[in-house]
Symmetry: C2
Subunit: 450 residues, 2 copies
């Protein structure tokens, strides 16, 4: 039987799945339906496009619709909204957003790769001009279009995208205020780590950061944003406002079709990326993952995960066998010349998951101190007090932080204890590390030995 593979969504997981499915099955009918006007782009690159580090938005496009159609024989339907999945007769109902026509098409295998949508607070003024979220190429182009007319930016939410946009707005010359409702920015990191990032941004980069501050209203003048109001009865002027408060998985279609939603709030999938409905798969930011350490369902909407899940789904949809083995929530981001990186659990997350923990924190140069360009990195490691297994690592600083975090990611995946970790023979040369790597010194502090 010739498979008819339909993919809803065409950014990371969807586009990856389409290309992989084609390589796996040269004869399948493969189509992508997307509401957007673009497919197969790097959403993670958008802040760099806005910052003008990347001049042309076309550079973010990984595969063009023409490449998909002409070289890979994949049907691309832009501006098409899927409005219903009918699992019983294996069809989807589609609305053409250009002419509003409705159509029903059959599938043999369906992939839901609908992604996530930015959370918009229920307050006044979110519809005003120059109030943005950042998710799609269209968002990126809209933000960039009038950026040179702007002077003051307010970013709401100090997560990864918020921080990347702090850099972007600041580097194009805007005065940036970041407001964060929690006690510190970067809620995925422990407080002492996040606080260092805050200090760097405030002292070295002139960013205004207000923690424990909630957006209460966005105020406009003639349809354009003019300022924001906070729960501290403060008004902050703004020519542009970015809402980066978080995202929620796009699960409405799945939910309406009776597909099970997981505890994380995203679509529940097995290791093959199949949902609770046979022949319906989900991948990317709409799907949940299993956490490698806790074994619990989690939802970390990250580009690397989306790509891997799309690949796994495609293999299984085309008769192959492949499993997605879960996540550690590994992440890295760059904010000016600071690297912010993490794998596994923070101390807080470990405690929340019931672990008794050992922690150590150090601050060392990333390479031999006498080398020009040597920069400090702060590393925090967390281990299970009972088993001595590594649970997590956070590393930040102007130096090479993510290199150390990735070594810990491998160690956690292998289930290494802190003592086993000490046997790792890491590379050394003065331009790359001190003679004993800072990650070894930090993990050493968790061992019983001297």
């Amino acid at each position: 039987m010739t498979e008819t593979i339909i993919i809803i969504g065409g950014v990371a997981a969807g586009a990856k799945a389409a290309a992989k499915a084609r390589r796996q099955d040269p004869t399948a009918n493969i189509s992508i339906f997307t509401e957007e006007n673009y497919i197969s782009y790097s959403a993670c690159g958008l802040p760099y496009y806005i910052e003008d580090v990347i001049k042309d938005s076309k550079k973010l496009l990984i595969r063009s619709p023409e490449t998909f159609r002409d070289k890979e024989n994949i049907e691309i339907n832009l501006n098409h909204r899927v409005i219903r999945i009918n699992p019983n007769n294996k069809t989807i109902v589609i609305q053409n957003l250009i002419n509003n026509s409705i159509n029903e098409v059959e599938y043999t295998k369906l992939l839901i790769a609908t992604g996530a949508k930015p959370y918009i607070p229920k307050i006044e003024g979110t519809q005003l001009k120059n109030v943005f979220t950042l998710r799609s190429v269209t968002d990126g182009m809209a933000i960039k279009e009038h950026l040179n007319e702007m002077k003051k930016a307010v970013i709401v939410g100090g997560g990864l995208i918020g921080l990347e946009m702090v850099e972007a707005f600041s580097n194009v010359g805007l005065e940036v205020t970041l407001i964060e409702k929690r006690e510190h920015i970067l809620s995925v990191m422990d407080k002492e780590i996040a606080t260092q990032v805050e200090e760097y941004l405030i002292k070295e980069k002139g960013i205004k950061i207000q923690n424990n501050t909630m957006l209460t209203a966005i105020n406009g003048e003639n349809t354009k944003v003019k300022s924001i109001s906070t729960n501290k009865n403060e008004t902050i002027e703004a020519d542009i406002v970015l809402l980066s408060i978080g995202v929620t998985p796009e699960i409405e279609l799945a939910k309406a079709a009776g597909i099970e939603i997981g505890k994380s709030g995203a679509i529940k999938v097995d290791y093959k990326m199949e949902t609770s409905m046979k022949d319906i798969f989900a991948a990317g930011d709409c799907a949940e993952q299993m956490h490698i350490i806790t074994g619990k369902p989690v939802w970390y909407p990250l580009g690397s995960t989306a790509n891997k899940q799309g690949r796994v789904a495609a293999i299984n949809m085309t008769g192959g066998h492949e499993g997605f083995r879960g996540v550690l929530g590994s992440l890295v981001t760059k904010v000016f010349d600071y690297t912010i990186s993490k794998t596994g659990l923070s101390e807080k997350e470990a405690l929340d998951n019931g672990y008794e923990v050992l922690t150590a924190i150090t601050s060392y140069r990333d390479r031999a101190g006498y080398m020009p360009g040597a920069e400090k990195i702060t590393i925090k490691v967390i281990a299970d007090k009972n088993t001595k297994r590594l649970l997590g690592c956070q590393a930040i600083g102007k130096g090479d932080a993510d290199k150390r975090v990735n070594v810990v990611a491998a160690a956690i995946t292998a289930g290494m204890t802190v003592d086993q970790f000490m046997a790792i023979d890491l590379t050394y040369a003065p331009p790359y590390s001190p003679s004993i790597d800072p990650i070894l010194i930090t993990v050493k502090m968790l061992t019983d030995e001297d």
Copy 2:
């Protein structure tokens, strides 16, 4: 009993051991004896001092003799040669190189950290002026002293130090010819990897490289070097010649004392760094190591290993318990803007050790292709065909190569198979990697799956 700890040699292992021993045991008598006029310096930093990336040789000094004496109460004896170890009555015999006086002192614990010495070929002309080896600060200062009067350099031996000195000589304006007796430079790497480095050096950096070429004589004029002769009956002009043909462990003292020498040619030690003679330890470039993969004794004289071994020896000499867990031969070096990095076995080494192997080689950008500064790296991975365990990784290029190698170092230490490796959740953001890291793509090629 108050321990009297004597350490022969004061560079990496020796200096590290002294400092660690003091922290472990506040009351021990601790002395270092060294032939050199310097202690506790970074020999690995010498090429960067010669290149003038580091202006002042003092920057290479980690702890001064004064710090050792005044702050750590460690006796430092510069310009003292140990001429004999008497294990039976636990003494060493020392010659003061300034006044030639001979003295015998007692120890309760002895550490041999005599390092390694450059191999000098038995040919004519090695004693000529401007013919150097590079091992000590004294060597480095001698090389740097007249460098601005030089025009043409010949480097003999394309190992790590040879290549670092290619950069140093070239960057200070010398015309550099590198001669290598083997088929390719970098004998620790597989041929296709080493060949890429050669191409880079020749095409982009104007270095002359002659493989399969042996030095047969060094020719002088008025005591100064003038040229070298090769086995190809060629004469190459040279104002300066660096012999970086390799090093041999300094084992004479140990051998004469009846201490067992290992199969690798270096001093045999157990995991505590104790030699075959009770209370006599060895650490650093004079001592051998156990290879984590093969379990065989090997001798990789590297600075990171020396530091770790010195630390382990110190703990055990002061009544503590600590084991040195072996090496993977992990290495990294920078040659201009090329990173050359390796962990574990090369394909050739794996075959020589009797493994049937799987290998894969790829060339991908180190970060998202649209990011400015994205550079290609070539990665080669080697796995055991039977067990599917990872055996080694080599990565080179202008991009971030060593990050990937260190992840593999962790995986090899944990005994991960290629399939287990694929579960590692590595960090991703466009400035740091493509959405699926090149090391994952490369290792994936060794799995059975699609």
